[in-house]
């Protein structure tokens, strides 16, 4: 049972929610007890892996005790985000859903198309609708990939910003 559960998590590119798992195991008697196996996996992990709650589901991560070794494999760290990109992402993450004119108002400067494009290519933002105002501007929000990248369980986990400098 534990192996079957692991096989699902190992093969999945997306976090799997309890609802999704329930749909897969359905009422198949062969997989009764999957919930108990999930609890054990969450509590103890498996070998070098730990199961972590992220973006409304669970996904496998490598246990931090192996990080020094992994750094030798993944020598190319992701490029740091520019200040403009980071601020735009922050506005979308904390104020979502938000239109581009609103983002520009928050930052006090225009937001170049390349900034939005970069965030879209990362898969971190997407259009989720339109505001019913003149021009019907697109409403931007963060995606599940954004939460996965920053290991957030939900948007409520976004850290509180300190401003009173």
């Amino acid at each position: 049972m534990r192996e079957a559960l692991l096989a699902l998590f190992l093969s999945s590119a997306e976090p799997l929610s309890r609802e999704r798992l329930a749909g897969i195991f359905a009422d198949d008697p062969e997989y009764a007890g999957w919930q108990a196996a999930l609890e054990i996996l969450l509590a103890t992990g498996e070998g070098p892996m730990q199961l972590v709650a992220v973006a409304g589901g669970y996904r496998l991560q490598i246990h931090p005790r192996h990080h020094a070794l992994l750094a030798r494999l993944h020598v190319e760290a992701p490029r740091p985000l520019s200040k403009a990109v980071l601020e735009t992402l922050a506005i979308i993450a904390y104020q979502q859903p938000v239109t581009r004119p609103e983002i520009e108002h928050w930052r006090g400067v225009s937001v170049g198309a390349s900034i939005m494009q970069q965030l879209q290519e990362l898969g971190w933002i997407a259009v989720v609708g339109h505001r019913e105002s003149p021009g019907r501007p697109a409403l931007w929000a963060t995606t599940s990939e954004f939460m996965q990248h920053f290991a957030l369980t939900s948007l409520e986990d976004l850290p509180v910003a300190m401003t009173g400098k």
Binding site: L10, R59, Q61, I62, L89, Q148, F150, A151, M162
Partner: protein, 268 residues
């Protein structure tokens, strides 16, 4: 305006901007760097206010405007390109300054009439965004601070069969037959439309396909009922007519056929 005497004493590279001395002092190459690092006039203004340790809610507009304009003049003196937004901000600051000199009309809510209010709102919003950007930056990031399990490969899973029932196929065939048909291309219509004949035709083809050699007619005729024999014979004749089978030679021991489109080794 610019204290050129101290210019050599200050290192620009590698120095955080906040370490610049109080008052307006811009080392030779610093201004360009400075303007580059700001995303716009609002941010330059926020930086000036923080550097002067002013209260964002009670901005001494005259002093901030003076410093702000000095930066702009210095930039212009050095022929640096400034976005129009910087000049708009200058105009806004001048307007606020002018309105603050006017006597305040009597109102119930003084704060509502403070000409600085909108500017304060904008600055506070920017300060909040900067804080949020920093907070995001502090989060652990995948591929930098932790690693996820890359999806493990699995071999091709067979696709689930489509939702389809036999009757759907029959209905589709019926629809096709009822359509007006173009007659400009040959279609091999059987005189006898029975599916049994088609079944046998496919079987004969598959049989010939198993082994790349000429087949004698007898080999292809099952020793079954007369009806089956008739059907097989019909199937072979039909396949020959449709040129799906090739008649190789008409010998004493009977016909030999082979599947069309396939090279048959010559017998010595």
């Amino acid at each position: 305006m610019v204290n050129a005497g101290m210019g050599q004493a200050v290192q620009v590279n590698g120095q955080p901007l906040d370490s610049l001395p109080e008052g307006l002092f811009i080392p030779p190459d610093a201004l360009e760097l400075l303007l580059d690092s700001f995303s716009g006039p609002l941010e330059l203004l926020l930086w000036l206010i923080r550097r002067n340790r002013m209260d964002i809610r009670d901005i001494p507009v005259a002093e901030v405007t003076r410093q702000y304009l000095q930066y702009l003049q210095e930039a212009r003196r050095r022929n640096l390109e400034l976005a129009a937004e910087y000049l708009l901000m200058a105009a806004w600051l001048a307007e606020i300054k002018a309105r603050m000199l006017l006597p305040v009309p009597p109102t119930r809510d003084d704060e509502e009439m403070d000409p600085r209010l909108e500017l304060v709102r904008r600055l506070e919003a920017l300060a909040l965004v900067q804080g949020q950007a920093e907070a995001l930056q502090s989060l652990p990031q995948s591929g930098r601070d932790f690693w996820t399990v890359n999806p493990v490969h699995y071999e091709d899973l067979s696709p689930s069969p489509p939702l389809l029932e036999l009757i759907d196929i029959a209905a589709a065939w019926l629809r096709i037959q009822q359509r007006p048909v173009r007659r400009d291309q040959p279609v091999h219509q059987l005189s006898n439309p029975a599916m049994g004949l088609r079944q046998r035709m496919v079987e004969v083809l598959l049989c010939c396909r198993r082994d790349h050699r000429p087949w004698s007619l007898l080999e292809l005729l099952p020793e079954l009922s007369r009806q089956a024999l008739t059907m097989s014979l019909l199937a072979i004749l039909e396949l020959l007519r449709q040129e799906a089978l090739q008649l190789l030679e008409d010998r004493e021991d009977g016909w030999q056929v082979s599947i069309a489109g396939m090279e048959v080794p010559q017998r010595a």
